[in-house]
């Protein structure tokens, strides 16, 4: 089947989802009121609360939620075939992410623009705030671990991409100086930065950077050496002022995202590539099956709990009219689904013949360990359709992923530092509070230890447990979504509306998450993977806790409804 048909089918389904299902949500579930005074008007201050045109706000919301994660999950999940992957992206986006992102904006807007952490404490129970903090701790640990491995895998497989990926740092620092110190405009410098970055790609091809010598010297594998170097970089980067590196990097990332999406879709259309992956890949008994693993492998791109943090943290404070939440929340989710579609296209139509695909996806270990490599090669193929050398195209894709992953780690380590400080304060370890160096070191060492857990299907059996880590990340992300959907469900019930639209994805996610966690526990126990076992057990406890909190809150709300005490938020 031509890959273009998949674009038409997916975007067509997204259109129908927006046209009909989001209207149902707006009118029947969330009961949007165009006359409701939104927080942006009630607390209008021009700073946090600003009534904002819906097209502008969609731009802010989408660039805040779009990133590298919707690429990695689908690139692994096509292991079970393109059909389950695209079906979950379509259904998850329309019936999960759309409900979740849209609902998080509305619920927050109806509660004075409070964020989902505060709301969970208010709507579910006071304990839920602690639960939220712990889920975020696990989530950030896993984010940092998986992105560290992602970058190491790509640098090892594509040493030609190291120079352009490193060049981003001085370019971003120059832009930072120009924008924040010299107060210059950013359009031309960021375009020049992007051109310099792309100009560095052929230079990187000419001078590939290998760390084999260093690895040999310290007695580690190349990949382990890269992981350690990347985390060392992150330690320093997260200590720098944000204006110097982190913020200006985002000016480049935003433009890269648009360029990457444009070239992928243009490459598919121009090349008229066929999908060579099987619709359903029947994997061997006793190995990871798509039920339930598909639903935690693709989190971002189908439904991501992280979106509720953006939706309730900032977007809800800026919606002009409550009815705008439909366009912004639902279309933001569809945009993220489109990124997942691009990743699926690259990994099912960009890898060559069916035999090539079967080799690339011969096992779950090969699929997960090689996922980013498959995506990168697929994008290289699409760029070749546009007349650009495939190797250069692959390097371009590596640079896109690495710049996103690097910025994510920089932010993730910073956030983890704050959370560790918060947890230390809650736990009474006052000695840690304010100790930035110790907290940063802990924020680096915890995910580093996790990133170096052996397993998977690497060369000589020395790969990392990347696939397992990724699914644990997906599980935690779905838990965050579960927490947000619980808040949304209770709020919808409190308005005497039918909450099924939120309860169905909530139940589905918690069921799949619990199932996968139990399977993982058994598997880690058999393998003796103690670190993964502890992590999995910790997440399982949080899941059980969340289920108890959600059921209790929903029952309490149902009791209030029966007692006929309707309350308008």
């Amino acid at each position: 089947m031509p890959a273009f048909y998949l674009i038409v089918i997916t975007l067509g389904a997204f259109y129908l989802g927006y046209r009909f299902y989001s209207r149902y949500l707006a009118e029947r579930v969330y009961a949007l009121d165009p006359n409701f005074k939104t927080p942006s008007h009630e607390f209008s201050d021009g700073v946090d609360f600003v009534p904002t045109n819906k097209h502008i706000l969609l731009g802010h919301h989408f660039t805040a939620v779009a990133g590298a994660a919707p690429i990695v999950g689908p690139a692994i999940a096509v292991y079970w075939g393109w059909l389950p992957a695209i079906a979950w992206v379509i259904l998850g986006t329309i019936f999960g992410a759309g409900v979740h992102d849209f609902g998080a904006i509305v619920t927050s807007a109806r509660n004075r623009g409070q964020n989902i952490g505060t709301l969970s404490g208010k709507v579910i129970s006071a304990r839920a705030s602690t639960l939220f903090l712990l889920i975020i701790f696990f989530l950030l640990t896993l984010v940092n671990a998986v992105f560290g491995v992602v970058m190491a895998i790509l640098f090892e497989a594509h040493p030609g991409s190291v120079i352009p990926a490193v060049i981003v740092i001085p370019i971003a620092m120059c832009i930072g100086q120009w924008v924040y110190r010299m107060k210059g405009a950013v359009l031309i410098p960021s375009i020049i930065g992007l051109i310099l970055l792309y100009a560095a790609i052929p230079i990187g091809q000419m001078y590939p950077i290998h760390v084999d010598g260093l690895a040999h010297l310290v007695g580690l594998s190349v990949r382990t050496t890269w992981v350690i170097l990347i985390f060392a970089y992150t330690w320093f980067a997260s200590r720098l002022p944000v204006w110097l590196l982190l913020q200006p990097r985002d000016y480049i990332n935003g433009q890269q995202l648009l360029v990457a999406l444009a070239v992928i879709f243009a490459g598919v259309i121009v090349g008229w590539d066929q999908i060579t992956a099987p619709a359903v890949n029947h994997v061997a008994e006793g190995t990871r099956q798509w039920f339930p693993y598909l639903f935690i492998t693709i989190a971002c791109g189908a439904i991501s709990g992280f979106h509720s943090l953006v939706a309730s943290g900032t977007t809800s404070k800026q919606i002009d009219k409550e009815t705008d939440a439909r366009y912004i929340g639902y279309c933001g989710a569809l945009g993220e689904g489109s990124l997942a579609l691009a990743a699926i296209l690259a990994c099912t139509a960009g890898l060559g013949s069916a035999a090539d695909w079967n080799t690339a996806y011969s096992s779950f270990g090969a699929a997960s360990g090689g996922a980013l490599g498959h995506f990168v090669n697929g994008v290289g193929h699409f760029l070749a359709n546009l007349g650009i050398d495939a190797q250069l195209g692959a390097s371009f894709a590596v640079v896109v992923v690495v710049t996103f992953a690097g910025t994510t780690m920089d932010t993730g380590v910073r956030l983890q530092r704050y959370i560790l400080e918060e947890i230390a304060e809650l736990a009474g370890f006052r000695a840690l509070v304010g100790k930035t160096t110790i907290l940063t070191t802990l924020a680096v060492l915890i995910p580093l230890a996790l990133a170096l857990v052996p397993g998977g299907n690497g060369a000589g059996g020395k790969g990392f447990a990347f696939g397992q880590l990724w699914t644990l990340f997906g599980t935690t992300n779905q838990l965050t979504a579960g927490l947000a959907l619980s808040v949304i469900s209770v709020w919808v019930m409190s308005r005497n509306r039918n909450p099924l639209a939120a309860i169905v994805p909530l139940t589905f996610l918690l069921f799949m998450t619990s199932w996968a966690l139990v399977l993982n526990l058994v598997s880690f126990l058999k393998e003796g993977s103690w670190m993964l076992l502890i992590m999995d057990a910790g997440i399982a406890v949080l899941t059980a806790w969340l289920i108890v909190e959600a059921v209790t809150a929903l029952n309490r709300q149902r009791g209030e409804r029966r007692a006929e005490v309707p309350s308008e938020a």
């Binding site: 021009g46 502008i56 924008v179 107060k183 210059g184 990332n253 943090l309 900032t314 918060e422």
Partner: protein
Amino acid sequence: MSIGTGHRLILVREQDAQHSGSGCCGRLGEAHTDLGGAADYAHSRAVMESVGMVYRRLRDAAPGLVIDVVDPRNTIWLYPAVWRASRRAGRGVGASLKSLSRAGAAAAIVLDGEVLYSGALPAPETIVAAVMAQLHDSRAA
């Protein structure tokens, strides 16, 4: 007709949602600053608050004026909007291109496609006075 009717002001400044870059996996929204990240972004916050003062004063002084607050990273909306407004106001291609090049700064004030300030902003009252003067001039014309 109230002052500012038919005119559009774009206040360009960074937003909390865009601060930490890299997509949703590195963002905690408002929870981020609750947890202690506020100091990291104090420089951006200072600009946000300064532009916020301009916003509030102009909203009161020119009720007919359409005011949009936009992050400079929102390229898909910002640059076409500045270009359209500049051309609609009758400026030539060269002047409109110049507006484009100056509009995307960490802070900028753009009235009807013309960039009044870019980068280092003066005191809010100076900006308000400049915008009001422009609006009165165009009314008189």
